[in-house]
């Protein structure tokens, strides 16, 4: 494994509410790195600040203070077109509620990031078919989102996030709306993508089973990183047990 971090997070703070009104400090100084090709999970109780953190990292929201870099590029001050370009080229997202455009077919949804970059039409079709093949949704490409199951929708969303070959993939509870079988299939997919294409993945989840697919897990409590768990060479089943044990003590 390489040692150059693909993402660095330094002393990140987030306070909700304007000064003078009722304020709430959701993040209280977060520091960590993600190495290139790493698969990191973030866990924590409800309200602990997971989504808040992910939104900062993925440029969806701005921190009150602190800095995040991806590929050595500071991202918290990106604005306008730079921000849009950064989102389109460097990162991919997957959300709990899929966030597909119900007006477009699966194919069109997946192709959207490419058309946004004005990729030549000839390259679009093979690219979509390739990623759809990898994710096992090739036969559903002409369906509209409401004609797909939850698991299929999430795979379409994943395909859309991956089509631009981003450096980082972010997921906020991507398995949250899936049954355990679909969740396992999706996590298996993430593992494969992570290993084969060396995409770094950062997942927020409160599901220990999904978390057990990660290489490293950060536990957040009250807006701070409380603990870190590394999988090392442990099997997934053992790691799962470790997580459960850890949650038991951590949540006390």
């Amino acid at each position: 494994m390489t040692t150059t971090p693909i993402m660095t997070v330094t002393d990140l703070h987030k306070t909700y509410g304007k000064p003078g009104t009722k304020q709430y400090e959701a993040l209280k100084g977060i520091d960590f790195n993600v190495q290139a090709g790493e698969f990191v999970g973030i866990m924590g109780a409800s309200g602990s600040g997971k989504t808040t953190l992910l939104n900062m990292l993925a440029t969806l929201d701005k921190p009150t203070s602190g800095e995040v870099t991806i590929h050595q590029q500071p991202i918290t001050h990106l604005k306008g077109n730079q921000l849009a370009d950064f989102r389109a080229k460097e990162i991919g997202f997957i959300f709990q509620d899929f966030n597909l455009l119900e007006t477009m077919t699966a194919f069109e949804n997946i192709a959207l990031p490419l058309t946004l970059q004005n990729t030549p039409t000839k390259q679009i079709k093979p690219a979509v078919e390739k990623v759809a093949g990898q994710l096992g949704i090739a036969e559903f490409l002409s369906n509209y989102p409401n004609e797909l199951s939850g698991g299929q929708k999430q795979r379409v969303a994943a395909a859309r996030a991956l089509i631009n070959e981003p450096a980082m993939l972010f997921g906020d509870e991507p398995t949250g709306a899936l049954d355990s079988k679909s969740a396992r299939e999706l996590m298996d997919l993430f593992t494969t993508i992570n290993q084969r294409q060396a995409v770094s993945i950062l997942l927020v989840t409160h599901d220990p089973f999904s978390a057990s697919f990660c290489q490293r897990i950060l536990f957040i409590k009250d807006g701070q990183i409380g603990q870190e768990l590394k999988r090392g060479t442990a099997s997934r089943a053992d790691f799962y047990q470790q997580i459960l044990d850890n949650l038991g003590t951590f949540e006390q």
Partner: protein, 596 residues
């Protein structure tokens, strides 16, 4: 308990209700405005002498009723889609169907009645405001127009409440017969655009054939009379809808195959359009009809406005004749800077006016002659005494002789014979200015000072361009007013229609555009996508509307002396300007809702 829930749902969605209410209020206000003219027999009789106008109002009434019908069914489906989720939830938590049914019925009716009542009030205010504006701006003479007219209010109330009763019934059935789960998810069903060649062609053919029949009927209204209006009405509405249905679906499917659909957000925009295609085709047909009505009405109104001074101009070569002009009058006339001013002397004896032939030979009298009955192009000719005595056109001089002598035939005498007449001598001063309509106030003063001297003189009795203008203006004002008034009303209806459609989709789009931002679309790309999507919704009905107007204007060739097509680029340009402004406003509102 359930009622409380329903009311809380209502509070929650006040913004949607605001859209719904303002749309319905606008629609009923405009229906009232139209009926305030159409049902007011006294007004129609007073202001038009042409029986065709009655037909045209009946035509408009039926058309507006059809449009209202679609509009309400549309508003209702908006209301329904707004409430489906809530009612689905009520059912899931175990509310009785009967109870829910009552609530739906009540809500629909309440919305309808409140909107209609407010609409009638707004309509009354609009009628008063717009008519004042038009009358003042154009100098029209309008009589017997009442802003508040009970029969119109009743007609509006009956139509709207009736339609809402139907809508309530429809909602009752639609909601109580649908399973709760389907109600919960009914908002995200796409209309998959399907291209079935056979059906597509059938629609295109039916569309083209019916529109052709409609155009033919409008062109031959003279022979078809009232039946022609009915025929044109049915066929054009049907044809427009079929064509939109066929061509719009086809366009969306075909355009997606082109490379440009894979550029930026073009594919997204096409998908947006085809997603709501069924709603859009209905709306676009209505908008095309309204566009045609508004533009047509304004064009006709302006046509009459343009025609009035032209007709006055070709009625006589001189603006006015003054007998025994005073010093004060002379200075007024001088202030008009007449391009020509001539004074002839005359003496009268019984039924004859005697002029000096020598004066006419020195300053020949200018006559004016129309080239044909259906044209305002005229030729002028200067006639000396002998020619004038023989000419049919000497009536033009007779008109200028002021009422006392108006129907007396002029006789031209040699100076010697003239001198022998013992009667007192009078002076007739005739003059012409560049533009009679530019100095209406001064002319009015001239008429007044003459009638002070001679009580038998009244406006309209004096011959010449000025009094002919006053007379024709009186005759055409009614038509002109109706055209412009209805044009504005239809334009407002069109605005509220498009606005309604577009804003009702804005909430769903807000979430779509947020999603687009997350995957890296620039704000610029999003704005241009919005502009394009709304531009399509404006341009398509605009094109169809213009074509309808170009054919529809034929109907008015019977009412107008000159061709109704002369100078149409002026109203078209004005209309295009208004439409453009309206487009920009819509885009702005939409952007504000969607991109926060």
């Amino acid at each position: 308990m359930l009622t409380k829930l329903a009311v809380s749902g209502l509070k929650h969605r006040w913004r949607d209700y605001l859209v719904l209410f303002s749309g319905l209020i606008m629609s009923s206000a405009i229906f009232y405005m139209f009926e305030a003219l159409a049902t007011n027999q006294a007004f129609l009789k007073q202001n038009t002498s042409i029986s065709m106008v009655g037909f045209i109002f009946q035509f408009g009434s039926v058309l507006l009723t059809i449009i209202t019908l679609v509009y309400i069914s549309y508003a209702n489906s908006f209301l329904l889609s707004m409430r489906k989720r809530d009612y689905g939830l009520f059912m899931l938590v175990g509310a009785r169907k009967r109870k829910i049914g009552q609530l739906i019925w009540l809500e629909t009716l309440l919305v309808g009645i409140i909107a209609t009542l407010v609409g009638i009030i707004v309509g009354t205010a609009l009628t008063a405001g717009i008519s004042q504006l038009l009358i003042n701006a154009l100098g029209l003479s309008i009589h017997k127009l009442a802003a508040w007219y009970l029969p119109a209010a009743l007609a509006t109330l009956i139509l709207y409440v009736g339609l809402f009763l139907l809508a309530g019934l429809f909602n009752l059935i639609a909601l109580t017969k649908t399973p709760a789960l389907k109600l919960l998810h009914s908002n995200d069903q796409p209309n998959r655009p399907q291209l079935k060649a056979g059906r597509q062609w059938a629609q295109i053919i039916i569309g083209l054939v019916s529109i052709s029949i409609g155009y033919w009927a409008m062109a031959n209204l003279g022979t078809l009379q009232l039946a022609g209006i009915g025929l044109a009405l049915v066929t054009i509405v049907l044809g427009t809808y079929c064509l939109f249905n066929a061509i719009f679906v086809w366009l969306m499917v075909v355009l997606k195959r082109f490379a440009f659909a894979h550029r930026g957000l073009n594919g997204f925009t096409l998908s947006q359009l085809s997603f709501r295609i069924r709603n859009y085709t209905k709306m676009l047909s209505i908008v095309a009809m309204l566009f045609a009505l508004a533009l047509g009405a304004i064009t006709v109104g302006m046509g009459f406005h343009r025609e009035t001074p032209l007709m006055a101009k070709s009625s006589n070569a001189y603006d006015m004749g003054i007998v025994n002009m005073t010093k004060a009058e002379q200075s007024k006339v001088a202030s008009l800077k007449p391009t020509e001013q001539t004074t002839y002397h005359f003496k009268t004896k019984q039924k004859t006016v005697f002029y000096r032939a020598s004066e006419f030979n020195q300053h020949p009298y200018q006559t004016i002659k129309l080239e044909s009955r259906n044209s305002l192009d005229a030729t002028t000719q200067r006639l000396k005494a002998t020619q004038l005595a023989k000419s049919q056109l000497r009536y033009q001089l007779m008109q200028l002789q002021t009422p006392a002598f108006q129907y007396t035939t002029p006789v031209f005498l040699s100076d010697a014979a003239y001198a022998k007449l013992a009667e007192p001598q009078n002076r007739l001063t005739i003059f012409v200015t560049d533009d009679v309509t530019a100095h209406l106030a001064t002319f009015k003063q001239l008429v007044k000072s003459q009638s002070d001297r001679n009580p038998s003189i009244k406006t309209g009795v004096l011959g010449g361009r000025y009094s002919n203008y006053v007379m024709i203006n009186g005759m055409y004002s009614g038509l002109e007013f109706m055209g412009l008034f209805l044009g504005i009303a239809f334009l407002a209806m069109l605005a509220s229609c498009l606005m309604f459609k577009i804003l009702s989709g804005a909430n769903a789009d807000q979430h779509r555009y947020q999603m687009l931002a997350k995957i890296g679309t620039t704000a610029h790309q999003q704005r241009s996508a919005i502009r394009k999507e709304i531009a399509v919704l404006f341009i398509l009905p605009g094109i169809v509307g213009v074509i309808h107007v170009l054919f529809g204007l034929k109907m008015f060739s019977m009412l107008m002396v000159s061709s109704p097509y002369t100078g149409i680029w002026i109203p078209f340009l004005i209309f295009a300007g208004l439409y453009l402004i309206y487009y920009l406003i819509t885009v702005n509102i939409y952007k504000r809702i969607v991109l926060q």
